[in-house]
């Protein structure tokens, strides 16, 4: 297998102004794997409780997702409930029951350890670090995190940041992580925190990249202007001075796909990451040009995700639908 994700599998209860759904399959690993499954055969490491049924398992099986790493623990599956405001831009968490997820210790089989592409879903940085130590075959590692870890586990997060190739976060998270409002300046500070790599990756695979998600506005992907320029960021203790360094950022922008009917934003970010990494694993090419195409694949999957409640729209898409949307992204952005 070439793509592995470690994250959560959950039962979500979602209320939006346009509908509601109870105890439906959710969690970062679910959205990620379903989205990735249209490009490659992804594997997941996650944990569920004894309330996780054969029907639930079948959702993954139908998409040929490798669930050998889906541990079953005594107790209930992680459950989350949320409610969205009218414009879907803000949501209120109604409840979070960690249940079996509380004692989740990801264990990678020898098979998992060979995965070349690895995505660390939004879990405690210490667990992400533990996975990274096991993932000996990983050549290109992506990371998601959130404001909770930025605030409550900054040291552990700083440690894991140095070990990944690509960080995929929201604009508010990028600003909080860098303590800087301007996103270009924030990106430079984050790159300083991501370098240098204590275990240099093989030549050509050591580029540090940042994807900043901006909801309906799309995303910015940024990277140092050239691989050669990476060393100028200096040692980690220089991070706070990084804004002094004068260098250009390689920047790519992709808008959100304009939709008339957005039903439920839950899982859009993980669907993006799934499409992104699925495309990378399929094409096995982490060049800048191909990372841009991966952004398009990810955005297409995110745009499908939000068109129905929960994971519904990700269950049986046709290749023609996906190709059509990829083409439309070109029409939307090229001039």
């Amino acid at each position: 297998m070439s793509l592995l994700t470690v994250g959560s599998v959950a039962f979500d209860s979602i209320k939006t102004p346009f509908g509601k759904i109870n105890k439906t399959l959710g969690g970062s690993a679910s959205y990620f794997s379903l989205a990735a499954s249209y490009f490659t055969k992804p594997a997941m490491v996650a944990v569920v409780g004894d309330d996780f049924s054969k029907t639930d398992e079948k959702i993954f099986a139908n998409r040929k997702i490798n669930t050998n790493g889906l541990q079953k623990a005594k107790g209930k599956t992680f459950a989350w409930g949320g409610e969205y405001s009218f414009d879907l831009n803000s949501r209120k968490t109604l409840f979070t029951h960690l249940n079996v997820f509380q004692n989740f210790r990801p264990r990678l089989s020898s098979e998992h350890q060979k995965s070349k592409y690895l995505f660390l879903g939004n879990i405690h940085p210490t667990l992400q670090l533990d996975v990274l130590r096991q993932a000996k075959g990983a050549k290109f590692v992506g990371l998601d995190t959130m404001n909770y870890w930025i605030e409550n586990a900054p040291k552990q997060l700083a440690k894991v940041l140095k070990l990944v190739n690509i960080l995929i976060i929201n604009d508010s998270e990028a600003r909080e992580l860098a303590k800087e409002h301007n996103l270009m300046k924030a990106a430079k500070k984050i790159f300083a925190a991501m370098n240098p790599h204590p275990d240099p990756l093989p030549e050509g695979e050591g580029v540090k990249t940042l994807v900043i998600k901006r909801g309906e506005y799309g995303l910015l992907m940024l990277s140092p202007a050239s691989e050669r320029s990476v060393p100028i960021y200096g040692r980690p203790k220089d991070a706070d001075k990084s804004a002094r360094y004068k260098y250009a950022l390689r920047t790519f922008h992709l808008p959100g796909y304009p939709l008339e009917d957005v039903l439920d934003p839950t899982g859009a970010g993980d669907s993006f990451a799934g499409g992104f990494f699925g495309y990378l694993a399929k094409t096995n090419d982490a060049s800048w040009a191909n990372l841009k195409k991966a952004c398009v694949a990810g955005s297409a999957m995110a745009s499908f995700c939000v068109e129905k409640l929960g994971v519904a729209k990700l269950l049986n898409l046709k290749a023609a639908h996906i190709n059509q949307r990829l083409k439309e992204f070109k029409k939307l952005t090229h001039f």
Copy 2:
């Protein structure tokens, strides 16, 4: 002359967290003409008071802007003062002294009336309508408006909307005008309100286009999928039912140019319109493909505008700077 704008010339007093400037040249016609002057020789119709000095006039002369239509009236020039919040996303108006602008009645000379491209800056819709009646040679007309006119002169605005080719407004204004949060649905409602044209424009020039500006997030340009499909919007009284119609919108997205240092957003929207219409007048081509390029030219001028306080950055740009930025927009968006 091929490009004319009618709007305001003002003295602005601007306070931002990064600096302040008093009684500096401002107003929609000023920003528009300065930005357009890098592509064509624009003309303006506006009014100033007897405090408008030779030095102020020289700013326009240096950029070869035709100011034959700049009326001098007894009294003081329109004066505006504003202060921006830390992130520059919101501003507080400190004062608005309309002065001579209060009695502004735009009069187009026979020379002005021949202008093929016309941009109606943000003034009372009745004045915009009056200008349109005089502008007998206008083939492609753009319009700006604001929430104040949407709320206080909706009937007059509805009238003028039917007579223009392109409406350039902010996302919040588009939402308010259409009474619809979703921008794709809002666009359909606005197109319904813009059609049919009671005086059909010559073949190929009757397309209705909408540019929605989203600040740092860039813009969306939308148009009915094909010129043939315009009639389906039906009569104006069907406007409120327009969402029923099933048709695709031709959509183009362009991000804002990512800048590390934004000093002052004043005039960015008018600089966009100036670059957009300057490019159109220069190339004399209102096809969809060329409108996209005009968006890039406009966004480049807006990105320069915000890099210094007031109009400063628009006074002596080099062609090489502009070309460089146009190229960077391609790198930023193409994949």
